[in-house]
C-alpha cells in the first residue's frame, strides 16, 4: 500500500477520498487554491499544500503545480477525484513519468474513452450497442449533415473530445443543424480545445442508466450493478439511485453484460462507469464511458456495501480486485440528491455567496457528503456542488421517505440551492412510480 496519497481535488470529493485513504491506513495530502485556504478538505487532511491562485486553471487544473506539491509532500500516489484533471490522459502520463501512481486507469484508456468517436468504435467492436451515427469526428458542417441525412433527423450533435453535455445540441432538420453546428463547435473548442463534433440519432425521452465497473487491468472486470440518473438539467445529473426502478430483467442483464464486455475489451483498470441510454422499449445504447470515480458512487456503495475509494487504492497499489462477481449483491435501495448553489427559479443560474447558516440533517440510513460548512464562501471559480445527500433503506419508498425528511430538515442560508426543486422531484407522481426520462426537467415537469 502507499505511504501517502495526494488528493488533487477540492470540495466534497476531496473529503470523501481523504476518508478512503484513512480507511486503508494511508496518509492523505490535500492541495488548495488561495480561495480554499480554510476549506474543510484542508482540515481533514494530514497535510496540505498551497498550489496557486483561485482560478482553477492556475491551481486545480495545473498539473505542474500538483506534481510539485506531490514531490514536496512525499506522496507516492495521486488521486484525481472527478472533474479537474481526472480525465486528462496527459496528466495521468505525467504522474507516471514523475514516479507517482495515478489512481485510475492507464493513460491510454483515458485517451481512448475521452475521444468519443473512438470510444464508440471500440465499444461497437466489443459488441456493445451504439446509436446510429458518425464513424469519426466532423470538423465541418457539411460532413455532419451527410451523417445526419444517413441516420435520419432529429439528431444530436456532440463534442468529439469530451462529454458532460458540453457542446451538445439537438437538430430537428438540416437548417437547425447548420445553425447549431457553429455554436456547439465553439463551446466544444472552448471546453476541450477541439471543436470537432459527431452526430448520433436523437432518442426521445430516453432514460439514463449506467453501470459501475471495476477492472484489474489484466482483463478481469466485475460490475457493481446499475444506477438510474435520468433526472438531469443541462445534461448534468441531479438525482441518482440504485437499483434503477422499473428496469426489466432482460434490460438489466443486457446492461451489465455490455458494460463488462466493453471494459474487458479495453482491459480496463480501476473504477469506471459505462453510461447508456435506454429507450421506451428497453433497448440500450452506449452513451459514453467515464474513466474515473463518479459523483454518484455513494448510491452503489450503499446498496452493495463496498468502499469504492478503498478499492481504488488497493487496485492501484497492485492488489487484485477485492471482490468476486458473485459477492456483489444489491440490497435495498439508495437515492442521492445533489444540492447545488443554483437558483432553480432562475433556470438554475449559479448562486455564489457565503453560507451564513447550515443545518445538516442526520438519522438512520442517511449519508451526507458535504464540501461546505457554516461560514464557507462559495466562489464563482468552481463547480456549484455544495453537498450530496444519500438515503438508503430496505425499499425505494423507504429511501424516498428518509430523503424527503432530510431535505425538510436541511437549512442552507446565504445562497440559493436546488433543495426546494429536489423536494418537488421526490414528491412527483412520475418520480414515485419510477417513470423518469432525461428530458423531464427541461420540459418543466417539476416546476413549482
Amino acid at each position: 500500500m502507499f505511504r501517502a496519497v495526494l488528493v488533487a481535488n477540492r470540495g466534497e470529493i476531496a473529503r470523501r477520498i481523504i476518508r478512503g485513504c484513512h480507511a486503508v491506513g494511508v496518509r492523505a495530502i490535500a492541495v488548495y487554491s488561495e480561495a480554499d485556504r480554510d476549506a474543510p478538505h484542508v482540515r481533514d487532511a494530514d497535510d496540505a499544500v498551497a498550489i496557486g491562485p483561485a482560478p482553477a486553471r492556475d491551481s486545480y487544473l495545473s498539473g505542474a503545480a500538483i506534481l510539485d506539491a506531490a514531490r514536496g509532500a512525499g506522496a507516492d500516489a495521486i488521486h484525481p477525484g472527478y472533474g479537474f484533471l481526472s480525465e486528462n490522459w496527459q496528466f495521468a502520463e505525467a504522474c507516471g513519468k514523475a514516479g507517482f501512481v495515478f489512481i485510475g486507469p492507464p493513460p491510454d484508456a483515458i485517451r481512448q474513452m475521452g475521444d468519443k468517436t473512438e470510444a464508440r468504435r471500440a465499444m461497437a467492436a466489443a459488441g456493445v450497442p451504439v446509436l446510429p451515427g458518425s464513424d469519426g469526428p466532423s470538423a465541418d458542417v457539411a460532413q455532419a449533415l451527410g451523417v445526419a441525412e444517413r441516420v435520419g433527423f432529429p439528431v444530436m450533435l456532440k463534442a468529439a473530445a469530451g462529454g458532460g453535455g458540453i457542446g451538445m445540441a439537438r437538430a430537428a432538420d438540416p437548417a437547425e443543424l447548420e445553425r447549431s453546428f457553429a455554436s456547439a463547435s465553439r463551446r466544444a473548442q472552448s471546453a476541450f480545445g477541439v471543436g470537432a463534433l459527431y452526430v448520433e440519432r436523437y432518442l426521445a425521452r430516453p432514460r439514463h442508466v449506467e453501470v459501475q465497473i471495476f477492472g484489474d487491468g489484466r482483463g478481469d472486470v466485475v460490475h457493481l450493478h446499475e444506477r438510474e440518473c435520468s433526472v438531469q438539467r443541462r445534461h448534468q445529473k441531479l438525482v441518482e439511485e440504485s437499483p434503477a426502478p422499473n428496469l426489466g430483467a432482460g434490460t438489466k442483464r443486457g446492461l451489465v453484460e455490455a458494460a463488462v464486455a466493453g471494459a474487458r475489451a479495453i482491459r480496463y483498470a480501476n473504477a469506471g462507469t459505462i453510461e447508456f441510454l435506454v429507450d421506451a422499449d428497453g433497448r440500450l445504447y452506449f452513451l459514453e464511458m467515464n474513466t474515473r470515480l463518479q459523483v454518484e458512487h455513494p448510491v452503489t456503495e450503499e446498496v452493495s456495501g463496498v468502499d469504492l475509494v478503498a478499492a481504488q487504492l488497493r487496485v492501484a497499489a497492485g492488489d487484485g480486485l477485492p471482490w468476486t462477481q458473485d459477492a456483489i449483491v444489491q440490497r435495498g435501495a439508495a437515492i442521492e440528491v445533489r444540492v447545488y448553489a443554483e437558483d432553480p427559479a432562475r433556470q438554475f443560474l449559479p448562486s455564489p455567496g457565503t453560507i451564513t447558516r447550515l443545518d445538516i440533517p442526520g438519522g438512520d440510513g442517511l449519508r451526507i457528503e458535504s464540501g461546505v460548512v457554516a461560514g464557507s464562501v462559495v466562489t464563482p471559480h468552481y463547480d456549484p456542488l455544495l453537498m450530496k445527500i444519500i438515503a438508503a433503506g430496505p425499499s425505494r419508498d423507504a429511501a424516498i421517505e428518509r430523503l424527503t425528511a432530510a431535505l425538510d430538515a436541511l437549512v442552507i442560508d446565504g445562497v440559493k440551492t436546488t433543495a426546494p426543486f429536489l423536494q418537488r422531484v421526490l414528491a412527483h407522481p412520475d418520480f414515485r412510480r419510477g417513470a423518469v426520462h432525461t428530458q423531464m426537467v427541461e420540459q418543466g415537469a417539476f416546476n413549482g
Binding site: 472552448s190 448553489a341 443554483e342 443560474l349 449559479p350 448562486s351 455564489p352 464563482p380 471559480h381 456549484p384
Partner: protein
Amino acid sequence: MAEEIKAHITGVVFQITTKPGDAVAAGDPVIVLESMKMEIPVEAPRAGTVKEIRVAEGQTVQEGDTVAVID
C-alpha cells in the same frame, strides 16, 4: 440616454464581446461571465450603442456591479 448594464450574477469576466461604439440590439450579449463552470452572457436591456466597458477579462464582478454603459 445612457444606461448602466449590471451583472445579474457574481462571476468572472470570461469574454468581452463588444467595444465602445458597437451597436447592439436588445438581448445581445455585451460581455460573458463565467460562474461555476457556466458561461453566462450579460445582455443589453435595449437597443443602443455601447458607450463604455467597465470591466476587464479575468476580473471578478459581484451581482449588481455595473459592467458596461450603453447610450
